[in-house]
């Protein structure tokens, strides 16, 4: 034991959490199983590839396509499913075993804990990727596949795995298994769909010069977007995880919201520079969804240390508190500001020239704010904000689906009744299911619902602001 400890220690250069997590992770049954199963699957896949290639010369193209699909599917299982899934327990296990407080009392910040947890899983994923590389080479030498395309796909898969792991680490502090399960299904379905789309996009782009409607984005544009948005989104997810375990005296809301502002700013620059082909702002809007929901879910709890820091900066500090202080009250102001910037950018890009574009931006804001307003109306003191939020959104989705099916089967426009539900407006608009004649009416009713949500949240926030002021006065009096 002592001899191992006295060795020159490379681990001293890395995060303590990373060292501990790697020690634990590399010994865990999940990693060992994933590693060996991946090797077996890869061997089986390469052998089958060889057998089919030599046996079916006449239909070699079809068979190769099938085997390619199988090869990538098998690789995706550990990389984009198995390893990211481990993120779900990353912080949850520390909370469950009550070790998180002990770690937080050391010199480690909650951010470094979240980063270390994420990095440990990513490094283990990287080990898996490295173990797959020999099979990629075998496919090149024996199967004659395009090795550059394979390496590009493997790299892309790794990036998706990193992003997915960040999302699961962000989910891991939540205690509700149902909530985490729902997130897991939604996130994995969404990301697998997105990953498949991007892969197809890049393949088609390299073959045919772009997809119709994509503005003919070149692969380098996609890579630039990924290089900007993926790290920012990963940092945002890790900040969300860190904020859940941080002591109340730390203000993580500020960092998360500044990251959100960065996403919007980067999207505006990318679009204005012509890199984003007007898609950057849409990507940013999607990536902002978890941030805004997380912000609106923050309790309006008064944290004296945080407020002292704002107040110490005088008037600018007080003004900043309206946007970046913890709690749903400032989150509402922040969200409205972000929606305003997104709308301005959409206007600049010419997206608001049509009713569809206008419905999109208004329903986007309303979709995020209406459930928050409903919860603050009926369950203002709830500690399960996210549970209620997801239930409401899910109900709206089901309602939209049912009404759409009914409209189609009876050939009647019942969908117009859904105009006051921003989520329905958003979904119907996305799938071009709002007939042109009713689009103006739809826009009006969606705007009313969104406006009412904003007005209610503003009204409801008066009480917490008053409480904050009273708390500050009490503290001042208490401490002379």
């Amino acid at each position: 034991m002592i001899s191992s400890a006295t060795r020159s220690d490379f681990a001293d250069w890395t995060s303590p959490v990373l060292v501990k997590e790697l020690r634990q992770g590399l010994r865990s049954r999940i990693f060992m199983s994933a590693f060996f199963v991946t090797q077996l699957l890869m061997i089986a896949s390469v052998l089958m590839n060889l057998a089919i290639s030599s046996a079916l010369d006449s239909r070699a193209g079809d068979a190769r396509g099938l085997m390619d699909g199988l090869f990538w599917f098998l690789i995706s299982l550990p990389l984009a499913l198995g390893m990211p899934m481990r993120g779900f327990t990353a912080i949850h296990s520390e909370i469950k075993d009550r070790t998180i407080e002990l770690v937080l009392l050391s010199h480690l910040s909650s951010w470094r804990i979240a980063l270390g947890k994420w990095a440990a899983i990513v490094i283990q994923t990287l080990l898996l990727v490295c173990s797959i590389l020999p099979y990629v080479l075998l496919r090149y030498y024996l199967g004659g596949v395009n090795i550059l395309a394979d390496l590009q796909s493997l790299g892309l898969l790794f990036v998706f795995s990193c992003v997915l792991t960040a999302v699961t680490v962000a989910m891991s502090p939540y205690e509700s298994k149902i909530l985490r399960g729902l997130f897991m299904v939604a996130v994995f379905a969404g990301f697998w769909f997105l990953m498949g789309s991007v892969m197809v996009w890049l393949t088609v782009t390299s073959l045919y010069g772009g997809l119709p409607g994509s503005g003919r984005m070149a692969p380098w544009q996609v890579y630039v977007m990924m290089a900007v948005f993926a790290p920012a989104f990963i940092i945002l997810c890790l900040e969300m995880a860190a904020s859940r375990i941080a002591p109340a005296a730390e203000n993580h809301s500020m960092r998360k919201r500044l990251l959100g502002a960065f996403l919007v700013g980067a999207a505006v620059i990318l679009d204005l520079a012509g890199v984003g082909n007007k898609w950057a702002i849409s990507v940013a809007a999607v990536l902002l969804v978890p941030l805004i929901i997380d912000a609106l879910a923050e309790p309006a709890a008064f944290s004296l240390p945080v407020w002292k820091r704002f107040l110490a900066r005088g008037l600018p500090g007080r003004a900043a508190a309206w946007l970046i202080a913890p709690g749903w009250v400032s989150a509402t102001v922040y969200s409205i500001t972000i929606f305003g910037v997104l709308a301005a950018e959409a206007l600049l890009q010419g997206h608001l020239g049509t009713s569809q574009g206008r419905i999109m931006i208004v329903s986007y804001a309303g979709t995020l704010l209406l459930p928050a307003a409903i919860i603050r109306l009926f369950q203002p003191e709830t500690r399960n904000f996210l549970g209620f939020y997801i239930t409401i959104q899910f109900s709206f989705m089901v309602l939209t689906l049912l009404v759409s099916i009914l409209s189609q089967s009876l050939n009647e426009q019942f969908t117009s009744w859904l105009a006051p539900v921003p989520m329905s407006a958003l979904l119907l608009n996305l799938f071009n299911n709002i007939p042109t004649p009713v689009q103006s009416g739809f826009l009006l009713l969606t705007s009313v619902a969104t406006g009412a949500s904003v007005a209610f949240l503003a009204l409801r926030s008066l009480t917490p602001w008053r409480d904050f002021s009273a708390n500050l006065r009490q503290h001042s009096a208490h401490n002379g």
Binding site: M1, I2, A5, T6, S8, D9, A11, D12, P16, V17, V19, K20, R23, Q24, R27, S28, D97, R98, T99, E101, L102, V103, L104, L105, S106, H107, L108, P247, A248, A249, S303, L304, P305, K308, Q474, H475, H478, N479
Partner: protein, 316 residues
Amino acid sequence: MADPIIEVERLERDFGNVKAVKDVTFSIERGTVAGFIGANGAGKTTTMRMMVTLETPTAGTIRIGGDDVIDKPAEIRRRVGWMPDHFGTYDNVTVYEYLDFFGRSFGYRREERLRRLMEVMEFTDLTPLADRQMNSLSKGMNQRLCLGRTLIHDPEVLVLDEPAAGLDPKARIEFKNLIRLLAARGKTIFISSHILSELGEMCDQLVFIDDGRIVHHGSTESLTRHHGRETLIEVRVAGDPEPLYQWIAAATEITLADRHRDGARVRAIDLTDEDAAALLRRMILDGVAVQGFTRIERRLEDAFVDMLRMTPPPLP
């Protein structure tokens, strides 16, 4: 107080509408072992968690070594070692790796970390267990490991919440010895426990908390030796106890509490050590064949119960 290292002043903590800690004020001198006593839900753990920066006070101040827990949390965490009432263990980690992780987390590098680990493992007698997986340790071993983790950054102040809970008698004695050793090394120890007799043996000071309020703060001796203002003394004599009874009847500062075959118990009010010595001297000079003269100490449990009984109910 000469050199207070822990200063708690008008501390309050609310959880929604529930006031867990109400206007708590006390201070602990550097180098003392202070016991924190209270029933479940009295506010002990909440107060301790605020002291170690895990909770934020609603009002009031806590200073450790002069630093405020709100203004300088990082400094407080450097000065204070926190041992909660649970072990906080990891799977697939050995004893050495566990301590090594916390050593790294506190920023110790290579030789310095190794030196700290060796010191801590030696002190807590964990060296033979260094390569053992944590989940194979007994409760007593785990407790020593957790104390080791608490000591890894060499804190000035140790805040220990129910550290002996669930331990067998042998492990409890070992743990008590470790606390004594730490006290001898000049650490300030603030310790809560339900086993009051053990606190009595370990602590120089006792702080009683009930329903979020401090109801007593003083030396252990003052609690165990006095029944309020009253002191009981056991006097044993050689031979016939009758002369003793006569002497007691004639004395003004003591009264007879109880007679027995070898002597009697006497009661005195506001008796100092000097008064007791003078009393014994007079008894011997007056010819009473005194064989034993002992102050009767109360059990801490009795003092605690009396304390709660005497505490006035909170004002509406």
